[in-house]
């Protein structure tokens, strides 16, 4: 009783200064529409959960990681072998990164098929698309940090692709690598990008994304009438369901970390020849594999350049989906859009599998 009085006093004190009652009222009155596709709402929450895991485990790794060519590999080795539960933290960080991107893809496609990007949620989609790109940026920059052989050469190949971009390619390559080749300078700047630049930009986009979701509420698929849907209170019903999703995500993470501890490999040796089977992380594989299949020259145009332009345009189209799909704004169904979506999913799966099999 006494504790309750104290808590109530603290609440009043904070409420007076931060107007918490307004937020409380908003949260208590927030409703989530229930329909046969509501289950996809939880994937966004699971992506957010993985992002939070990344922040926490990343901070722990930062305590021991040293971003130089001479010490990076040894410091990760130290984390994995000497730091108490360091192996677990690193394994969780690595698996959580991959799960986050996987959930982000699933979330994006679910929103795409439900066409939840339609007016007035265009900006929510755009911020989400940028968050997906940022996540991939996190993956690309983080892959190099253990400074092992595979990552070193994969980064070499990955940054080589940057150099193919017309006009600014050479400059971009030098900026990305911190010189002409992948060296300790590349590692240091990738570290800076991974732990400072990307988190800062991502936090900005994430807060915007979440604020827009809260502001506009959940969208319902075309054909479902918002008012006819059952309305689930956000607190506690939906929040508890979200918690189930988070718990399941944690279960998957722990299972992966225990069955497949993340390997460290061999220390990068710039003078050694490239190891067999170098490829980027799985979420870049479909692009990597496509570039491999494009012939050197396509009608006098550099094949790789053509591929890069193609993926660039696809990325731009992804961002602009809400503005390209005009029927959605009129709540009309689209004949081809689901076909395009399924084709994209099939394409990503087939080319990713090919990258691992061929």
């Amino acid at each position: 009783m006494k504790d309750q009085t104290r808590l109530s006093g603290l609440w009043d004190w904070l409420d007076e200064r931060l107007s918490l009652s307004a937020i409380k009222e908003l949260a208590l009155h927030k409703r989530v529409p229930m329909h046969r596709h509501s289950v996809w709402y939880y994937v966004g929450g699971m992506t957010l959960f993985c992002f939070l895991v990344q922040i926490v485990t990343g901070i722990f790794l930062l305590l021991y990681y040293r971003p130089t060519a001479e010490a990076a590999f040894e410091s990760v080795e130290f984390i994995m072998t000497d730091v108490k539960f360091g192996w677990l933290i690193r394994s969780i960080h690595s698996w959580s990164a991959n799960l986050m991107i996987f959930f982000a893809f699933v979330h994006m496609f679910s929103v795409f098929f439900m066409r939840a990007y339609r007016r007035p949620r265009e900006l929510t989609w755009v911020s989400g698309a940028f968050l997906l790109f940022l996540s991939m940026g996190f993956g690309f920059s983080g892959y190099l940090l253990p400074w092992n052989q595979l990552a070193f050469f994969a980064t070499k190949v990955g940054t080589d692709i940057l150099g193919q971009i017309p006009l600014i390619g050479g400059w971009l390559l030098t900026v990305a690598r911190g010189g002409e080749d992948v060296t300790g300078a590349t590692l240091t700047r990738f570290f800076g990008i991974h732990v400072a630049v990307l988190p800062m930009i991502s936090t900005f986009f994430l807060l915007g994304h979440l604020a827009l979701v809260q502001k506009q509420g959940m969208s319902v698929p075309i054909g479902e009438e918002y008012k006819k849907c059952r309305q689930m209170p956000f607190i506690p019903n939906f929040a508890l369901r979200d918690l189930v999703g988070w718990t399941l995500a944690l279960g998957i993470l722990v299972l992966l970390a225990s069955l497949f501890p993340w390997e460290l490999g061999e220390k990068a040796d710039p003078l050694a020849s490239a190891p067999a089977g170098i490829r980027p992380e799985w979420f870049f594989c479909f692009m990597f594999q496509t570039l491999k299949y494009i012939p050197g020259k396509v009608l006098f145009v550099n094949g790789e350049l053509l591929g890069i332009i193609g993926f660039g345009l696809a990325g731009a189209a992804l961002v602009l989906v809400p503005f390209l799909d005009r029927r959605a704004a009129r709540e009309e169904k689209h004949k081809w859009l689901p076909v395009i979506g399924w084709f994209a999913i099939l394409y990503i799966i087939v080319f990713t599998v090919l990258a691992y099999v061929v």
Binding site: T81, V244, T247, L250, S258, L264
Partner: protein, 434 residues
């Protein structure tokens, strides 16, 4: 006034730049057409006879020329005379020691005038030996030359002439990697070597050998060339005893162990080459562990047969060597698995180096041809590798404990998820929402 001065300065600067540019353009002509003031060079460069112009043209890169030696320092004569007077013969003044081109049998002494002069050589290359002539005289080449055989190699056959490069220069014919090909110019020529009745396949055999591979393919300068065994200037075919001496220069432990072995006296009695009986001469193959043992085609069984002491020792050494290798491999595999799982195996890896060293020593200790001495080294390696296996198993156990720990956590997490789900259902049953 100031403007005029400025104009003058600009004009002067332009002329100066033009003069510098013209100078730079004209510079390469200096070498081509300009006279050096040295009659030997001026005359020999201009002549159309290649035999006479070649030496002068090649001299530019010659180590002696770059150190300040001219034609007259070897050939005598007077380079200040001849061209100006319009009579080249004046430079060939025998009163001034002109000797022209020396005959082959005179070449060693010709070079030795400087190269055997301690005081002179000190000034240019204090590290260089000055006993080359003495060595050469003791060599097969030198001895044959003394008999009047002009086909044998002299200094210039190997080092070249008028364009002699330092030994360390990769373009030099006596740079270590180039030595086998230089020797092969004569020694691989059947027609040239016919009068001497010696084989001409040494170069081909050497190229196929482990030494040839290391030196010629990998460019490893620590690998031997012909002169490493046969000597440089004192080149002589090594006799049966001295072959072992030559091998022992690098393979010192093998030599020492062999000298302590029962094979030492036995080979001497049977007139067998110490190293070459098993390893051959020029075609020395990379030694493998399969050379040891008692199986079919194994070296030991060429002389030893079942029931004799050597046969038994070979069998036991082979088994123990295999055991050592297998134990090391197993230890290595365990450590790799542990490391992949993120378990500390560094201490084990460090200890495994000791076992690896023991394996190298064991391979050398085979040359004791004595099981007890071999066993002393090999067994220490096996013990070390077994200790590493224990460490590896402990590390893997740690990994298993981690996996079990996490494996137990998963059902707990799933149970929490299920409990939450049931709680939600109960809550919504008690208080349904619209």
């Amino acid at each position: 006034m100031r403007a005029q001065r400025a104009l003058f300065s600009r004009k002067f600067a332009l002329w100066f730049i033009a003069a510098v540019v013209a100078g730079l353009i004209a510079w390469p002509l200096h070498g081509a057409g300009a006279k050096t003031g040295n009659s030997c060079l001026d005359c020999h460069i201009e002549t159309t006879q290649k035999r006479l112009s070649g030496p002068a043209k090649n001299l530019v890169n010659d180590i002696h020329y770059t150190k300040g030696f001219g034609c007259q320092d070897c050939h005598g004569g007077d380079p200040t005379k001849g061209m100006a007077e319009g009579d080249p013969a004046l430079a060939h003044d025998s009163a001034k020691g002109f000797v022209g081109s020396p005959r082959p049998q005179d070449v060693p002494a010709f070079c030795a005038r400087c190269h055997s002069d301690v005081e002179l050589m000190k000034k240019y290359n204090p590290k260089l030996r000055v006993d080359q002539l003495l060595e050469y005289r003791s060599s097969q080449h030198g001895k044959l030359l003394d008999t009047g055989d002009e086909k044998v190699a002299t200094c210039i056959s190997c080092h070249g002439v008028h364009g002699i490069l330092p030994v360390a220069d990769t373009r030099s014919p006596v740079y270590r990697v180039n030595v086998p090909a230089t020797c092969a110019k004569c020694h691989s020529n059947p027609a040239y070597m016919k009068p001497y009745g010696i084989p001409t396949d040494q170069y081909a055999l050497f190229k196929s050998s482990v030494h040839g591979y290391e030196l010629l393919e990998k460019g490893d300068l620590a690998a031997p060339a012909c002169n490493s065994c046969h000597g440089n200037h004192g080149a002589t075919p090594p006799g049966l005893t001295s072959i072992a001496f030559a091998c022992g220069e690098c393979h010192a432990n093998n030599r020492d162990f062999f000298n302590q072995s029962p094979h030492k006296d036995a080979y001497a009695q049977m007139n067998l080459g110490e190293c070459t009986t098993c390893h051959n001469h020029h075609d020395i193959a990379k030694p493998t562990d399969s050379m040891l043992g008692v199986g079919e085609g194994v070296l030991c069984t060429r002389c030893h047969s079942q029931g004799d002491k050597g046969y038994e020792a070979a069998a036991k050494m082979s088994v123990e060597l295999d055991t050592l290798k297998l134990t090391i491999n197993h230890a290595h595999e365990l450590l790799t698995r542990a490391e992949r799982g993120g378990v500390n195996a560094r201490l084990g890896k460090y200890d495994l180096h000791t076992a690896d060293d023991a394996l190298i020593k064991s391979r050398t200790a085979i040359h004791f041809f004595d099981f007890d001495k071999f066993h002393e080294i090999a067994s220490s390696g096996i013990t070390e590798a077994q200790n590493v296996i224990t460490l590896g198993e402990e590390a893997l156990w740690d990994l298993r404990v981690r996996q079990i720990g996490l494996g137990v956590t998963v059902p707990i997490i799933l149970w929490v998820a299920l409990a939450l789900y049931l709680r939600i259902r109960r809550m919504e049953r008690d208080k349904p929402f619209a």
